[in-house]
């Protein structure tokens, strides 16, 4: 088992704390932990990270900080909802398939409960003038909310005058020509591979 070797290195490096690394993991407890985190964090994945770290690394000592970071990178790289990916990755690492199901269910169950409560409640209010008025005010704000992070994201992605055409062309293709965003993502992946192959060729 390659994992044993890795753990030994951690033990050497980080002494006492990591001796508990393979400390008892119960899927039920993991479910409870992720359920609690899901219920008390509003705002999605990024908001959850410090809470997950506190529970998984500090309180329960299921993972070392390094393992936690590794699994976070994998969860961010894979497609899908980040928080769910992260729960699946942590659960899988700790308790295999059963562990991953327990953590994933714990993460999404609060969402399902709250959303269904809201959905059933709003169904009663359908056509209510006050509710409709409130939402007429909210809709333009939601648009701004989605557009809001664009500039920070552009900075983080290192967009320059040479690459700014990529988001602009992608947005226009989807908005004006009705191209599916999925094709744009596929094109992005293909572009990334093509660029790597070209750089490799130049390097030789």
């Amino acid at each position: 088992m390659p994992d044993v070797g890795v753990n030994e290195i951690y033990v050497l490096k980080f002494d006492v704390k990591t001796v508990n690394l393979m400390a008892p993991f119960s899927p039920l407890k993991a479910f409870g932990t992720f359920f609690k985190i899901g219920f008390f964090t509003i705002g999605g994945g990024p908001v959850m990270i410090p809470f997950i770290e506190k529970e998984v690394v500090e309180k329960n000592e299921w993972l070392t900080k390094e393992e936690f970071m590794d699994l976070m990178v994998v969860s961010q790289s894979l497609p899908g909802v980040f928080a769910a990916n992260f729960a699946i990755a942590i659960g899988y690492r700790l308790g295999g398939r059963r562990g991953s199901m327990a953590c994933a269910t714990g993460t999404v169950l609060p969402s399902i409960i709250c959303i269904l409560a809201v959905a059933l409640f709003f169904q009663q209010l359908r056509g209510n003038t006050v509710v409709e008025n409130v939402f007429r005010g909210i809709r333009p704000a939601v648009t701004a909310l989605i557009l809001g992070p664009i500039f920070n994201l552009s900075k983080a992605a290192g967009i320059t005058w040479k690459t700014v055409w990529i988001p602009i062309v992608s947005a226009l293709l989807i908005w004006l020509l009705g191209v599916s965003p999925i094709w744009i993502i596929v094109a992005g992946i293909a572009g990334g591979i093509a660029r790597y192959l070209m750089m490799n060729k130049e390097g030789q």
Binding site: G80, G137, L145, I146
Partner: protein, 195 residues
């Protein structure tokens, strides 16, 4: 068959949902409003607002709510709507489970490989385009009002959009606060303005 289509749609969204919450929102919007016409733009916008304000990841909240709404809009009962919401959530997660079992070890080993890094650095600008397109598509008559019919609503919408944008980007205001304040302004303005 609506339920089968729901499954494939959200499986696809889970499989191609790179780039976080709002990028996934743009995929859901495109599939659910533009491709399948399961709901209107305003209904979807309301779902985004609720998903932002309720606990849990935005992508999961939106998938759950969209699954429910799509089924109920098709004429099924609320019970079937609950089934639709569970199906949509499960289908979004399924690719994550599969990929985690198949490639997480590989990815952990190769995250620093130049090919992997090249793909992710190419995806980042694309994801920004996706998010921009989602916002552009929501800036329509349904959400902002038709200036030729209701100039007051259109002007207030433009104002609320601009103010929210400044509040989020410049003042770093919490999105939930922005939604609550805009909703309150909408409720007061449209409630007391005789149409």
């Amino acid at each position: 068959m609506l339920f089968l289509e729901l499954f494939f749609t959200f499986f696809k969204i889970g499989l191609f949902g790179f780039g976080g919450g709002f990028a996934i929102i743009s995929l859901i919007q495109n599939e659910v409003v533009a491709e399948h016409s399961w709901m209107t733009f305003s209904e979807f916008t309301d779902i985004v607002a609720v998903s932002q304000m309720t606990p849990g990841p935005i992508g999961i909240n939106a998938a759950t709510y969209v699954g429910y709404t799509a089924v109920v809009n098709a004429g099924y009962s609320a019970g079937w709507g609950v089934a639709g919401s569970l199906l949509a959530t499960f289908s979004t997660l399924l690719p994550s489970f599969i990929l985690m079992l198949l490639v997480s070890r590989f990815l952990l080993k190769y995250t620093d490989h130049p090919a992997v890094r090249s793909v992710f650095s190419a995806l980042r600008p694309v994801v920004i385009g996706l998010i921009a397109s989602a916002a552009l598509m929501l800036m329509n008559k349904e959400n902002f009002g038709d200036p030729s019919k209701d100039m007051a609503q259109f002007l207030l919408s433009v104002y609320l959009f601009a103010a929210s944008f400044v509040a989020i980007n410049k003042w770093k205001m919490n999105p939930i606060q922005v939604i609550i304040i805009s909703g309150a302004i909408g409720g007061l303005f449209y409630g007391f303005l005789p149409n």
